[in-house]
Homo-oligomer: 338 residues x 2
DNA sequence: CTGAAAGCGCTTACAG
DNA sequence: CTGAAAGCGCTTACAG
């Protein structure tokens, strides 16, 4: 139907094989041929057919990216960054949204498999589904953000150092009564952030009792629900730390709903930054992750896995972005070296 | 390398052709054969190869979706909805981010062409780039949200009715001095929303002078910049209407930056809803678009175009979501019928 | 209902 | 540097 390499070859007066080589920068062809073929291709509006090419080469130049919830700004950003990095490397990315649903995740994974992706970047949902286990055995895979014990390299922020820095900062400001809206304990990020907070608080001789921690699911509504319970405490906590931006937004709403002043009557801090956080009525102090670096490192690691190399990725430093929700004045503190 | 249809056929004791038909629900095969083949496929872990299939059938079962800015929540939502609708129809979608950059858009479009997508859904950037014009001639295409005069069906919200409802609502509340942060006038949505506001205001005997309208680019920063100029006016406007959610967020920040109370000293309203709008300190009154319906209609239209049918899509009704940024109490008003 | 055969559009050893 | 040939994994008329 459309223009094929044969058409180009004919117009250029060479064989299809030669046309193929001439179009390939690394193929051997005289510069005269190269020019004639390029010319013919241009005149005919030739566009290579990836299906034919990948059937022949067993490479699709396509990678998959599976995230739990594309509408969570952190993952939107991550997907954006991955797409950018991959495009720069000449790779196409197929983005899939697990959507908090194991079956949906597996359906999507099956599609990736049919497309014979060269490799997979995945932010695993809590437990690994059968489909995920299967694909991990079949394709080079790198996990981003979360470690689900899949036995693949994991590219993630140094959540521990980030949380330590945040706790230190809050304690230095005089906060003592901490309340935490944790992430799902079925995810490594949910666990690590909570454990790191506990640990660092203990270091400051602060103990968290059971009622001080409520587990959310990284979404807005769960932040709302958790905050309502946390702010029922008497006395009210000095501050609430949320394990992600969306839950923090929920906490902020509840603080106001109670007639309390955020940053004055109750502090708020969160993991993950958000383009809108600095324009909120109370700019939120956060531990920011660098999605660009996360994406680049992950893609690097995946490319190396595809090439059969072993990879080992160091945790990626976070940044403590001090704003005003803990009652401070604005500055940015790097905590790369913890 | 991986399991092929031949392997399945051998194990099942039939020819590859029969195996192919047995696996195809519409292919003719005895139920005994069907079972044996399905069994063999299961045991071998057979997964079809889309490259081979689409090379043969000239269908990729893949569509492209090109948006101007994936990180704008409206487009994130739209992409999510399109992906969901497409998955349900057994289609894979390749999402591309033009990223406010014509060259990036064309690079992405070229990739889609190499993949021989079955059709394209596009939210066109201002002017049509060469790559876009080309692809529109080559593949069935449907525009979503914006009309760039490409000569393809356009699936969009009824911005005009939505803006009329919003203006009527604001006027009924007593607002008279309007200021507008418009969308880029190079986009149809930017133009239609502004024209509709002007028109409806005139109907209420309100005229906008030049300084009352500032053109933004649908992003946060432009809302910030526009609001700073708009709020320099003396007297300050009764309200600011923003052409999208991100710019509205910027306006809200500036209102507070000036020490004014949103919804009390200055009203705010916007086009597009946003999951976070209802938890802001001042819940914003908006004209909400239904991205799910938009996506479904667009996919429907595209499928019909692919089938060679003519399509004609009616504008999709918006919803006026009354919150408190104009000084009201909360209710939702449908304005399906203007 | 089933099989043999052809062919989709490429790339790549193999010769020359 | 170039060409002829084979083949990647499917699907689908064509016979039977």
């Amino acid at each position: 139907m459309s223009v094929t390499l044969r058409d180009v070859a004919e117009l250029a007066g060479v064989s299809a094989a030669t046309a193929s080589r001439a179009l390939d920068p690394t193929g051997s062809a005289s510069s005269a041929t190269r020019e004639r073929v390029a010319d013919a291709a241009r005149r005919l509006g030739y566009v290579g057919n990836t299906a034919a090419r990948s059937l022949r080469t067993c490479r699709s130049d396509t990678i998959g990216l599976l995230v739990p919830d594309v509408r969570n700004p952190f993952f939107t950003d991550l997907a954006y960054a991955v797409d950018k990095a991959a495009s720069a490397a000449g790779l196409t990315v197929m983005i899939g949204n697990a959507d908090e649903d194991g079956a949906a995740q597996d359906r999507y994974l099956a599609a990736l498999e049919r497309h014979r992706i060269d490799g997979l970047l995945v932010v695993p949902q809590g437990g690994a589904t059968p489909g995920l286990r299967r694909i991990v055995e079949t394709f080079p895979t790198v996990a981003i953000d979360r470690d689900a014990g899949l036995g693949v390299p994991v590219v993630a922020s140094d959540s521990e150092a980030g949380m330590h820095a945040l706790v230190d900062h809050a304690v230095a400001l005089g906060h003592r009564r901490f309340a935490i809206v944790a992430g799902p304990q079925s995810t490594s990020t949910g666990r690590v952030r909570l454990d790191a907070a506990r640990e660092r608080l203990a270091h400051h001789d602060i103990r968290l009792s059971d009622g001080d921690v409520i587990e959310g699911d990284f979404r807005l509504e769960s932040g709302l629900a958790a905050a309502r319970r946390l702010l029922d405490h008497d006395p009210v906590p000095d501050l609430v730390v949320a394990a992600d931006a969306l839950m923090a937004l929920g906490v902020l709403a509840v603080i106001r709903e109670r007639g309390l002043r955020p940053g004055v009557d109750v502090g708020l801090a969160a993991f993950d930054d958000n383009p809108w956080f600095h324009v909120l009525d109370t700019p939120v102090t956060v531990v920011a992750q660098d999605t660009t670096v996360l994406a680049r490192r992950a893609l690097d690691a995946l490319l190396r896995r595809i090439a059969g190399e072993d990879v080992d990725v160091a945790p990626i430093p976070t940044t403590l972005v001090v704003r005003r929700s803990l009652g401070e004045t604005t500055t940015v503190k790097e905590n790369a070296h913890e």
